[in-house]
Symmetry: D2
Subunit: 486 residues, 4 copies
């Protein structure tokens, strides 16, 4: 396994990449102040695995090699593994207060593993073996891999093949003897610039005529054909300022980028689906399912940080004992633990796939994510309530540090005199960033849309609701159908 | 194990009891039309255990004797057992659409088992061995036992010893060489008249001066000192009418009664706590914890029935394909499965007690119950929305069967002509009973107050929230405390 | 104006009617214990008009005759009138704690008044003059009139003319020189048996081929062709028991019935629409609009009673000062006053129709009703929370009055000793009836479906949302469209 | 009345002020790119008053001079005036999509007007006449005045006189023959730098020993003793970038600053309360009441913009016809119009004060604001749902305009090909700023805390709930008290 430091160095060792940020090409992403927090965040997945107290939760024994590996590169072997995954994500979410990005790779590998197995069973292809070889290397090198799914989609009311521009979904433009050439882009790629590899999957169920869009493959993140455009987010440029206080979360952050496949060549040994449209839906459902489970861990960990911030600021404000404040914090905890319950439950109800790894319960994973599209927003609202209006009107840290007016800032920003104005200032900036700043992107918007927008979960909930069985229960109870039990 | 029929017969074999209902003494409760549905409901816990397809879920291997026993009398031996308990409760809830009452005994036995063990450890008493002997008999005879906790409480702002009337909490009035004499009453006793035995526990944490209230014991339900007063509930007397259609749930129902301990004698071998005030809180927390878990099963099963009824009536009304109807049903399913997730999660996160049986995760069990105080109400509201106003304005079944006007009822009550007016009528009556009739007591009010009212859960959530740790997370993230990890 | 007593007597003077209840023909509805509470409730609209302190709110000066009339028979002449209507409904809702039924007539007369005027303007008919003559008589005789709209509807996915049975919507079966003959039924007729007259309207927008369904007319409620079937509701038969305590609301209640038009003849002077399909939608929208406003008054008054009951039971239980109890009561008040705000707002924003009376703001009236489909359920849930589980497990009043066990009931039902057990008992029964008993039909289910189900309001909200204008605002703000103001 | 241009010029004519922003002194606030949008926003209150189509709503006839004046400087003379105020605020909120700041002065003048009258009535002081003279000048000069209330407050659990630092609440430090000297600071001063004058009020009810804190006065905003520190807010520095696209709202914004009274001298003719502690609560309640009404206008106007943006982006994404999208937009409209209803209702229920101007209904104004602390958050959540994840991951405008990668941005950001990528980009930036950027401060956090935090409203709701009357209603209905009406 890599150490956190080795991980950061490994990113420096990638070939030069075309990364654009705020209209400029970034030559050294590792030390770029807007990017580095997201690298630190991902590095935490390595760091915690180094620490003895977290071995059980952060590492696992490889099902492929028997080696001890980071759980982020592990094929889940049991429901216990699935539960430990959720606990690991909560832990890293607590330690970073942000999106640490690495779960997309873990979720993708588990989804591709079982789906390729089932494609091969049906079509006699050998995707699974290819993927196994790839995965062994992945485990050994302890890669961070970007699980890459969402296409630009253009007009959402039209399928891929009916778009004005065929490139609005990633597709195969050429099949050669040694591999394929793909074109298109993927949006919202969480942590892609911090990844060693990119594992691309289709984004939706496909019909027969869309075989060119049914493609799954891996490429190195430093493939020269790739172009990256870094997404700009709320308060992103605060990271360029001299002080870190105003950033709120002083070391960690998320990352979202667009990746463009500008006629990217993929050798056959890295192609894991190629035209099997009938399996696109399965792959999407499984990846999304795992990823919807993930949110029952990471966002809960982030929620722990925000609840802690709310509890702390209540103290600094001198209102920690007010009954309405206590009640709001209880509500925040209650909502957060409900999310955690959903993460745990879909794990505990997991089952073995034909390929041997464990899949979460799809219904409950979708229920989990559906709640994640709601509760963090309410938790954030309550945090703003407890923080007070000052969370949005406080002077900049430059003012606090100004020789002319810094004393005024400190004088009037004091709350309970047991705490310094700076403590209050820092805690308020943390609440600000998590509720409407850079971290809100991960804690809120990503909670809404990551792993699929709310309506996507509702469709799955409907599909797995088994309403016919429920109607039969009702008919028997009210005497339409016979009750021959008693 | 008893069969369902044997169970019903066993109730006939109890000594005559003083049971009052609507101001009258009930001589034959087993065949009383207002009581019988609750007996049928409890009998389902025996019936399903008879059926081969439910063996795994309905039965277990006794940890005391090795015999196969009904899971309702089982000491949970693993988190898997805890999960199966939740699934069993969901199943019985689906098959009855009502409160089947028997879980209070199961939850009490598991709480008393571990608490008596810990009392003995501290005080050198032998409550645990006594209870073990009692439990062996319980298992062998496959009893239904009423776990009996809630006192009348009088003025809620005063502790037991400060009440105007000392009997407002059950207390010891005499200690004799052969046992104790107790006096008082317990309210809201779910299924007590359908029980063979009563296992009494204190209702709250107690202070040292309240030793007489720190009492746990068992008595047979046909002890001559006991007086029962059957609670009257919404629409209860419909069960006395000639037709069953208007009852909605035609065979099953709940039961709540007051039991009065009119100087009841309890021999020492049935006394399991006697003055150890410092363990009253533990016993309450554990019983309540198990019981809050239970609601993540039984009410979910009831919810399945109500969702099925809503889906069916939508079809009968011809609106099953309307997008807003589908969306409401998805929401009902989503909320119901969130409750289930909470039931599963607190089970999966259970842990072994010093006494050897498994305890649920207390935080998550309280989160589970807290959600149960909310979502069934919203599910019921959505069911009424889908049903249409007719759920509250429909003629009685006597009108449907009237020679003079029955044809009018049938003519105008038709929905989609594929279904009969009677189907629609029955399904509407089912929705009525579950949302504002006899079953609403179990599905709604009991969801609110059973296993403790909402505020009781909030207190536990606060206690287990570990806010200090969360504050430390926040302080590190915003730079008040040092982050020496990265 | 009639006095309350005269009103009750006037019902005795109606010709014998075919009224069925629980399968039996009712010969004397006025003194029938299940019907009388609803008559008392409607009588309150007369009683309060007798009292000097309510003159301003309960009476108005007729726009037709200049006489002082009951506001329930008034053509609204101003936004002040519209606001006073809401206040009147809140008042009567406070004094009855139930649905007093008379608003449907008031809402119908105002809708028919302006719609007939506009029909005449377009088609040169004389419906408006006919209706004016009818309304003068109505005012003078101070009638209670049933505004009669909702058809059985059969398969909701099909229009009237496509139903398997043409009678599932009221329609004209014969046009004669002296009048028309109609056939069909109307469901959910609130207070119809307590009415002197019935004013029938179509139930939805109609297409050209459905001219026979575009019919509006009035008939006396004792027309011999009519058949009434009384709806059965939660806990209805408690009103037949010896004691009134268990009824909760001891004098007042609602009423819902089906009326069947078994080839009813209507003379031309009482026909107010006959085939003008293009005005069916307008009439429905206006009647529904007024009626949706109404719910911002009457249900708020009912809510006041339930809030009062919750505040009282909190005192009786000894918990009135607990912060979580106070907070729940504040929430109940907040939700209730939000409903009231909506009722007031759609009135204050009313406008004059071409016919001279005032129409509420349709958008805001629909917003009002949409909230009414939600908040009373939450208020009821909070009331159950505050009440405690005893609201669903308390002995019957017959038990309280039993010589054998009455003393036990009184002993153990005591709360704070400052209050009697009976006070607690009565208050709990009131909460029971309003949240899951007979009054819940009016307070909850009627709040859901009365004046149109939730989706009906959403359609209107969409229609009046003026999204194009809102999109233009957004385009200008973000610079797509030019901002030439500054 | 000033024109918008004159208003902007008038700010240039102020004496040099000590304004600090991001640690730097600002010499020319009018042209500072971070401040100018807030000036534009306030200028809109002047601009719209210039336009003939808005005369009725934007102007009024002065009650003091009979002149036509901007409604923002008007003493409300009727409930119609109160309603027009709400409509004016909605209008300006629609035209700016931001907080236009000027309402605090209008709300302060109306509160001070009636409170000074009542102080004088009790104490024989002449504050009211002083204020009248001041107000005449205010009207004539068409000033923007900062209504200035919230103190730093320090430890919220302690009153002003018990704070470690007495300056944590503004207080009188010296009384002189010609006036008073005050010291302290006020936080969250909306638009203060865009104001000509500052009208200071106490922030809470005060006890007798806090006479020095019971002070109300006016000073010119360019008084040399004043120090201003501009609050830093989410995404504020985007306004410093070259392109305006990423700002989302390209011309308008809010402003919050701290003002420090560094021993400020106030001549007696500008002192309107000086030690009358018993009137501090009244002044706060009235100012807060008016200001809570205001939010039922301005935030509704902002909501219109956000709803328009959501409807537009749905079109650009090609999903405008999806039923779940339509339903979410309906919900947004419903919530927004509920807020508006509350704003209208507390206005329509206003009453004349002894001083002659009109006061809103305090209960309903608090209900209004309480809803404003909830619904904008839900509207914002729904807007993010509809927008899609791209709202948080989109490239910067610099990328769109980059010669190297601009074409990629435009290619992949296209939605429905009927619309340009730039339209989509701009609309997404608008949604971003309103939900988690600079405008979110005004639309969300200010909705939470402006005019008082949620708990402040709950206290008022409780105070005005009249629970005794409600309990009496309940007692009569359930038969505890006699019902002698019928």
């Amino acid at each position: 396994m890599m150490t956190a430091q080795e991980y950061i160095e490994s990113l420096r060792n990638l070939r030069p990449r075309k990364i654009y940020l705020l209209g400029e090409k970034v030559e050294n992403p590792v030390d770029h102040p807007m990017i580095r927090p997201s690298i630190n965040c991902c590095a935490m997945t390595y760091k915690l695995a180094e620490l003895p107290e977290y071995q059980d939760i952060m590492t696992a024994k490889s099902a492929l090699t028997g080696n001890t590996i980071n759980r982020f590169v592990h094929l889940h072997q049991s429901t216990e593994d699935l539960i430990k995954k959720v606990k690991m994500l909560r832990l890293v979410g607590q330690m970073t207060g942000a999106c640490f990005q690495r779960c997309v790779g873990m979720d993708a590998l588990n989804a591709v593993w079982s789906t390729t197995y089932e494609i091969d069973q049906k079509y006699g292809t050998n995707y699974h073996e290819r993927f196994k070889q790839y995965l062994i290397e992945w485990e050994e090198k302890d890669w961070t891999v970007d699980g890459c799914m969402t296409d630009p989609k253009g007009n959402r009311s039209l399928p891929p093949s009916k778009q004005a521009d065929p490139d609005l979904y990633v597709h195969i433009v050429e099949k050669r003897s040694d591999g394929i050439v793909v074109r298109g882009a993927k949006m919202h790629q969480t942590g892609i610039i911090n990844s060693h590899e990119i594992l691309v999957m289709p984004t939706m169920s496909l019909s027969l005529e869309e075989a060119d869009y049914a493609v799954c493959f891996a490429v190195p993140s430093d493939d020269p054909s790739l172009i990256y455009i870094y997404g700009r987010q709320s308060c992103d440029t605060r990271k360029l300022e001299k002080t870190t206080v105003d950033v709120g979360n002083i070391k960690y952050g998320g990352q979202e980028a667009i990746v463009i496949f500008n006629d990217t060549f993929v050798p056959w040994e890295r192609v894991f689906m190629c035209g099997e449209t009938d399996f696109a839906g399965m792959l999407v459902e499984r990846f999304a399912g795992y990823h919807r489970q993930s949110y029952g861990g990471c966002k809960v960990g982030n929620g722990d940080v925000l609840i802690g911030a709310a509890a702390a600021i209540a103290e600094y404000n001198g209102v920690a004992k007010a009954s309405h404040i206590k009640d709001k914090i209880i509500e925040m905890v209650h909502l957060n633990e409900t999310l955690y319950s959903c993460g745990i439950a879909c794990s505990a109800e997991g089952r073995k796939t034909p390929a041997g790894n464990y899949l979460i319960d799809i219904m409950l994973a979708n229920v989990c994510k559906q709640n994640v599209t709601r509760y963090p927003y309410e938790i954030a609202r309550l945090a703003q309530d407890i923080a007070g209006g000052i969370v949005a009107t406080m002077p900049s840290d430059a003012d606090f540090k100004s020789p002319e007016i810094g004393h005024w800032c400190n004088k009037f920003m004091i709350g309970d005199a047991k705490y310094s104005a700076e403590e209050r200032q820092r805690m308020l900036r943390l609440i600000e960033t998590m509720t409407m700043g850079a971290i809100a992107v991960g804690y809120l918007t990503e909670s809404m849309h990551g792993a699929g927008s709310p309506q996507a979960q509702r469709i799955l909930i409907q599909r797995y609701a088994n309403l016919e069985a429920k109607k039969a229960l009702a008919r028997r109870i009210c005497g339409i159908d016979e009750d021959n039990l008693l």
